[in-house]
């Protein structure tokens, strides 16, 4: 039973996770095909990519098609599913093939798990980010390239231009350190201290949904289920209570330091390190200590 993996980009971590997931499905005996779509430098066109992928699927009839749980992975597979009128399960953490196939997938941004059955073949699924480690990477040479469709109807939606990010510095999604503030920061001005600490650590500033709703920070700073999902080495949560909506965005963080005056705040349940205290005192003290250590 062949497994087909759709690879968005050979070097991309979520694509590698999809390959690892596909490999675990295929085991040692079944063939594993990894496919990426090329379009000769023209902009990304989801329908064109999906059309090409759907043809590969129709041709090879794999038991399952696995795509990364990235924005494009979900999008391309959704197109494939619509085109082939097949069910699709997004953000799966495990699958047992069969008729029907049984999957476990994320709901509520990972706050809940769903056990579901997929009635259709092949099984279309995307892999929940970080559900599986990206080991056993394929040699890029083993990834097959397939040309995107060039039918005009498939190219109606196509990236015509990329506007680079105006913001200088580290992007929230890529930052090694994220200094994030919640309702406890109290005001837009309160973020000055967080910005200072982030800049000392070469990191980015994030915030909770309460903060963007209050208009203290732009939505682009929001970490959470409906904001940016981050994966820093250290996430510093300042005055954040720890709502499930927020925690859904920090699942990728390696370590979490929480600063909160309430020693029993629910954020501490997810924290590796805790400082109990008022962030307005603690954060400047950390910055001062860093400066002292650097002798400046």
């Amino acid at each position: 039973m062949a497994i087909l993996v759709f690879v968005e980009d050979a070097g991309d971590e979520l694509s590698q996770q999809a390959i690892a997931f596909g490999r675990s499905l295929a085991g040692d005996s079944d063939p594993l095909d990894a496919v990426r779509i090329t379009n000769d430098g023209a902009g990304y066109a989801p329908a064109a990519w999906a059309h090409a992928l759907a043809e590969v699927i129709s041709e090879r009839r794999p038991a399952a098609v696995v795509a990364p749980g990235s924005e494009r992975g979900n999008e391309v597979l959704a197109h494939v599913a619509a085109r082939l009128d097949l069910p699709m399960a997004a953000h799966c953490t495990s699958v047992a093939l069969g008729d029907p196939a049984e999957v476990v997938r994320l709901r509520w941004g990972g706050s809940l798990l769903e056990e579901a059955r997929i009635h259709g073949s092949p099984v279309l699924l995307t892999v929940a980010p970080h559900a599986i480690a990206a080991d056993g990477v394929l040699d890029p040479a083993e990834i097959e390239s397939v040309a995107a469709s060039e039918e005009p109807a498939d190219l109606l939606v196509r990236v015509s231009e990329r506007v680079p990010s105006a913001v200088a510095g580290v992007s929230l999604a890529d930052a090694e350190v994220v200094v994030s503030g919640g309702r406890g920061v109290g005001s837009a001005e309160g973020f000055v201290a967080l910005e200072e600490l982030a800049s000392l650590l070469g990191g980015a500033v994030g915030c909770s949904r309460a903060v963007t709703s209050a208009g203290w920070r732009p939505h682009s700073d929001q970490v959470g289920q409906t904001g940016t999902k981050v994966s820093p080495e250290l996430y510093i949560a300042c005055g954040i209570s720890g709502a499930t909506q927020h925690l859904a965005g920090v699942k990728g963080a390696k370590k979490l330091l929480a600063i909160n005056p309430d020693g029993e705040a629910s954020i501490f349940a997810s924290a590796d390190y805790a400082v109990i205290g008022d962030l307005h005192e603690v954060v400047p003290a950390i910055s001062a200590e860093i400066r002292k250590a650097r002798g400046s």
Binding site: Y44, P46, A47, N74, E75, H79, A81, D85, P87, M88, A89, H91, P100, R107, W108, G110, S111, L112, E114, E115, A116, R117, I118, H119, L156, V157, V159, S160, R162, P164, S165, A173, D174, L201, S213, G215, H219, S220, Q222, T226, G227, L234, A243, Q245, K255, S266, A271, D272, Y273, A274, V275, I276, G277, D278, E281, V282, P284, A285, E289, A293
Partner: protein, 251 residues
């Protein structure tokens, strides 16, 4: 421009999630309901586009009778018309959801059909795409800015990607899924609330369909609580924090 925004009634979570006894839903004994955040932004965007370019806005939901509350919530922030595909409230899979929407809107001549990028609860990432294919319309997902071009002939959509924004220009009619951050939805005004209360809701019954993505049961992820190391209290904890930063190679 006639704009449709599709929304889903979901529980307003915040605290610890508790499941119902049959493990097929979240217990909502203590919870209110809302629409998914992305979808609330879709409605706000629809209202703003109509304010700028004329036309009319419509909100649609597939859900139990109680979902009328969410339709009225959206009318309270300015959506003019509401369509309710009344279900028995059980889980509707993405294909069934898309089919129900398609049959309700096929003849309505919407120029722009807006969805949330994914629902807050199920997060299937596909209903809008399926609707687009069924209607033969282009679809752009994950949109964080929309501009109407050529007097309503097309829209320019921006999608956030690592390092910047990808731009799509799509002829109308089209399907667009939006993400929170495209706008900051307004709070309903009291007159808006009262107007919404008096507006009609067009409702039709949506029959049950066999699910092809069939939810069996829900469960809570095993809560492997972390061992939390308390570094200290107040400003005195700063040196301990520095040690941790050093350990992690961050200073």
């Amino acid at each position: 421009m006639n704009i449709l925004a599709c929304v889903k009634r979901v529980p307003l979570t915040g605290g610890r999630i508790v499941l119902t006894d049959d493990e097929r839903a979240i217990s909502t004994r203590h919870l209110g309901f809302t629409v998914s955040p992305h979808e609330e932004c879709a409605c706000e965007e629809a209202v703003r586009l109509v304010e700028q370019h004329g036309g009319s806005s419509t909100v649609l939901t597939l859900g139990p009778p109680e979902a009328e509350e969410q339709l009225r919530d959206m009318m309270a922030i300015g959506v003019e018309r509401a369509i309710h595909l009344v279900s028995d409230g059980s889980e509707s899979d993405p294909q069934a959801t898309a089919a129900a929407i398609v049959s309700a809107v096929r003849e309505q001549g919407f120029d722009l059909l807006m969805f949330g990028n994914e629902s807050a609860d199920a997060g299937n990432y596909q209903v809008a795409v399926r609707v687009a294919y069924a209607l033969g319309l282009p679809v752009v997902t994950g949109v964080k800015a929309i501009a109407v071009l050529d007097g309503g002939a097309a829209v320019r959509c921006e999608q956030e990607v690592p390092g910047g924004r990808d731009v799509y220009t799509v002829p109308l009619p089209a399907v667009v899924t939006v993400k929170e951050g495209i706008n900051l939805p307004r709070y309903p005004s009291v007159p808006g609330r009262l107007r919404a209360k008096r507006k009609p809701v067009e409702s039709t019954v949506a029959g049950p369909v066999d699910a092809r993505l069939e939810m069996v049961r829900l469960r809570l992820p095993s809560g492997a609580e972390k061992q939390t190391q308390v570094l200290g209290h107040g400003a005195d904890a700063a040196p301990a924090v520095i040690s941790v930063l050093a350990e992690l190679g961050l200073v």
